[in-house]
């Protein structure tokens, strides 16, 4: 078959080209400064790794062929003086001020950007071609899963957040091929249950590369984690801490704190997260229960429309670190959670990094979710806050739990039309035809969704729109 034969070599060679452009591995900072302008400004050691990675891409076999970026900028200097970690409410104002003076995004190398865009376009073409050639052989819906796209997203992560090790949130897509692909690339895994841990372990993921990240765990699952040596697990309340103490005294507990998710579509803080002022008490309980607390985690919520919230959460975590230190617990792990977009569809083209700002760009026709901050915008805030609160060499291990970021763009779903009904739109008269088409595979969990919805949709609204109305929107 034409395409199935062609697609592999297309992808392989595109990747080879990309590797040549980026150096291999793509995001490994090696400390080579490619241009004099940056090197003369500051000593190497004071540059964040992402700057090193961007400014002096490791030169491999294609040495000398990489064009130096034409625009290079150092990260904006930290604007906060005095106490690094002021206490609220001053902190909120300070971080708002820091956010207002937007941190600098990564410099963009046009050649690398072009190569990346070309590679992405080639992959997309290969996927659509595969759909076209597979469709006649299928009676039901099918996905085309592009694992090279997953790898490309991993490279993007490492380029934007080189200090933060991603732990893929398996819940997002527990496909063994995806888990295996990410494991090969060096990712860790955020598992929510025994089943997810078991799957990762079966694929050869070491237990130390897994975090059992669920603040409310089933006791039998904690025992399973103990049996398998998955020591890291999250908690956000006293009961959970005591449960962990009973089931797995050697566990390394990670406290999930509550951060500002008010701009998120899915506000996980409604269910999880300990308020900052409970940190001292929980540290005391941990001692009593014989559980070692090793770090802090949080989740800014899914679909957070405010990129600055990603930086603010890092600052909140810093406060938790300090509160724990005051209680005699030296923490060594920061887990910045998830909430990263899986594609740039709808992303603000200009890099506007708040939802209102993005909406102000127009074009959303009133759809509140038509625009959102890009991953780069989020990463920019995270880098700035980390340089400020958890600088290089601070001894704190940094991790995250991205899910959709890695997998959303990797799947194309082909569905087959199985039925059709032509109706007449009574509102506009007899001539307006309206087709109603049933497709295979588009079965969702809308049924599960409706269980949680109290009122029926208003007449004339689609289910989806009704949901938008029913979900509380804060600012």
């Amino acid at each position: 078959m034409l395409s199935s034969a062609a697609a592999p070599s297309i992808r392989r060679n595109a990747r080879a080209l990309l590797s040549a452009a980026l150096g291999a591995p793509p995001a490994a900072p090696c400390g080579v400064i490619g241009g004099a302008s940056v090197a003369s400004a500051r000593p190497f050691s004071s540059l964040a790794p992402h700057v090193l990675a961007a400014a002096g891409r490791p030169l491999g076999s294609t040495s000398g062929s990489v064009v130096a970026p034409t625009t290079r900028r150092l990260p904006a200097p930290h604007r906060r003086s005095g106490g690094v970690f002021p206490s609220p409410p001053a902190a909120r104002h300070a971080s708002a001020a820091a956010a207002a003076a937007a941190p600098a995004p990564l410099p963009v190398d046009p050649a690398v950007a072009a190569a990346l865009a070309a590679e992405g376009a080639a992959r997309r073409a290969a996927v659509l071609d595969m759909v076209r050639h597979q469709a006649p052989h299928h009676a039901d819906a099918f996905y085309v899963v592009d694992l090279a796209e997953v790898a490309a997203k991993h490279a993007q992560w490492r380029s934007e957040l080189p200090r933060v090790r991603p732990y893929f949130a398996v819940k997002c897509n527990d496909d063994p091929h995806i888990v295996a692909t990410l494991a090969r690339l060096g990712a860790g895994f955020d598992c929510a249950s025994k089943g997810e841990m078991s799957m990762a372990l079966r694929l050869g993921v070491p237990p130390s590369d897994i975090i059992f990240a669920h603040p409310a765990k089933q006791p039998s699952h904690i025992r399973y984690a103990r049996e398998k040596g998955v020591a890291r697990m999250t908690f956000d309340n006293e009961e959970e801490l005591r449960k962990i103490g009973r089931e797995f005294p050697g566990a390394q507990a990670v406290l999930r704190i509550l951060t500002d998710d008010s701009a998120s579509v899915c506000r996980l803080g409604l269910k999880f997260g300990a308020p900052l002022d409970s940190v001292p008490h929980l540290m005391a309980v941990a001692k009593e229960a014989g559980v070692e607390v090793v770090g802090i985690s949080y989740h800014v919520g899914s679909g957070n429309g405010n990129a600055a919230a990603f930086g603010d959460a890092v600052r909140d975590a810093r406060k938790a670190f300090d509160l724990a230190a005051a209680a005699g617990v030296k923490l060594r792990l920061l887990d910045i959670g998830g909430g990263f977009p899986g594609s740039e569809i709808g992303a603000s083209g200009s890099g506007a990094d708040t939802l209102p700002a993005a909406r102000a760009e127009g074009g959303d026709n009133g759809n509140p979710y038509a625009k959102h901050p890009s991953f780069s915008a989020m990463a920019t805030h995270i880098r700035a806050a980390m340089d400020e609160c958890f600088p290089e060499g601070c001894g704190v291990e940094l991790m995250a739990e991205p899910g959709r970021f890695f997998v959303k763009s990797s799947h194309a779903l082909a569905v087959n039309v199985v039925g059709k009904r032509t109706t007449v739109d009574e509102a506009t008269g007899a001539l307006a035809e309206r087709e109603s088409v049933c497709v295979w595979g588009a079965r969702l969990c809308l049924c599960a969704l409706w269980c949680g919805v109290q009122s029926p949709p208003a007449p004339g609204l689609s289910a989806l729109h009704s949901l938008a109305l029913l979900r509380p929107r804060v600012k």
Binding site: A6, R11, V67, I345, V417, D425, R434, G441
Partner: protein, 278 residues
């Protein structure tokens, strides 16, 4: 549909705002796909000009044209029994401003076609397939910037391009024809719930409601999206369907969970079908 459990709450509304298909593959045309491939090869090998206009559809038209270039080149490569499709090519990539050079030796910028603002040339030693891929991609990228592009994989081992050139140039002009020739109609990404639905790419469209297959009425996917008239047997392709989709699938109504076709990173293709409980 898009995000399963989660998505119902946020992703359809948030980052899955595009809930309409990227492509419609007409059943009748799929069945004639071999003929379509021939047509594509003919278009490209003859260095015909595929013209495209319609501001909205420009990038999609570019996709189609670029795909034609890729397929033609790959076909040429196969015909010539290109032996080393995996060999890394030495490539020179000229950015729009002519400043970007990646991993390359000297090569000529493809200036054919007149007002070329971007182009790509590949050395003969390189992989023809990679050249095809890059040519297509760059064509897309360039057209997306509303530019005119000439993609010229040079020194091809191809009977169709005995002179060493396969060329497709894409310039702003009309869109309906190429999509038909390629066996599918392309739709621009649609935004759910936007007044007016999807702008049409030519040809009659109808406001269309897409439903899932269950005998429940809660499985509405999108409403009032302008689409070409669909027929049973047609296929719709939705992109960006990897997050909280399969993970939230269920067998409600006894329908199997969708099977998967994997494109592995090593280039192999694997078809995995869901076991159907009979």
């Amino acid at each position: 549909m898009n995000d399963g459990l989660y998505g119902s709450f946020n992703c359809i509304l948030y980052d899955h705002v595009t809930c309409a298909p990227a492509l419609v593959l007409a059943d009748r045309e799929l069945n004639a796909s071999a003929a379509a491939d021939d047509a594509i090869a003919r278009i490209s090998a003859d260095a015909s000009t595929v013209t495209v206009t319609d501001a909205v559809g420009l990038s999609h038209a570019a996709d189609l044209a670029a795909a034609a270039v890729e397929r033609a080149v790959v076909r040429a490569a196969e015909a010539a029994a290109a032996e080393d499709a995996e060999e890394q090519c030495n490539a020179l990539v000229m950015g729009g401003d002519g400043s970007g050079v990646v991993g390359g030796e000297s090569a000529s910028s493809a200036g054919a076609g007149g007002a070329s603002s971007g182009g790509v040339g590949f050395s003969a030693a390189g992989s023809v397939a990679a050249a095809a891929s890059m040519a297509g991609s760059l064509a897309r990228a360039a057209v997306a910037r509303s530019a005119t592009v000439a993609a010229t994989p040079s020194a091809m081992a191809s009977p169709a391009a005995a002179g060493g050139r396969v060329r497709a140039s894409v310039s702003p002009a009309s869109v309906g024809a190429p999509s038909r020739a390629f066996g599918y109609a392309a739709l621009p990404a649609a935004t759910v719930g936007l007044p007016g639905g999807v702008p049409a790419l030519g040809g009659a469209t109808h406001p269309t409601t897409l439903w899932g297959p269950t005998c429940d009425s809660m499985d509405k996917i999108s409403d009032g999206v302008a689409m070409p008239e669909l027929q049973p047997g047609d296929w719709l392709v939705f992109e960006n369907m990897g997050a909280y989709t399969v993970a939230g699938s269920c067998r409600f109504n006894g329908f199997p969970i969708a099977s998967k076709v994997y494109l592995h990173t090593d280039g192999s293709v694997e078809v995995q079908r869901e076991e159907v409980v009979e």
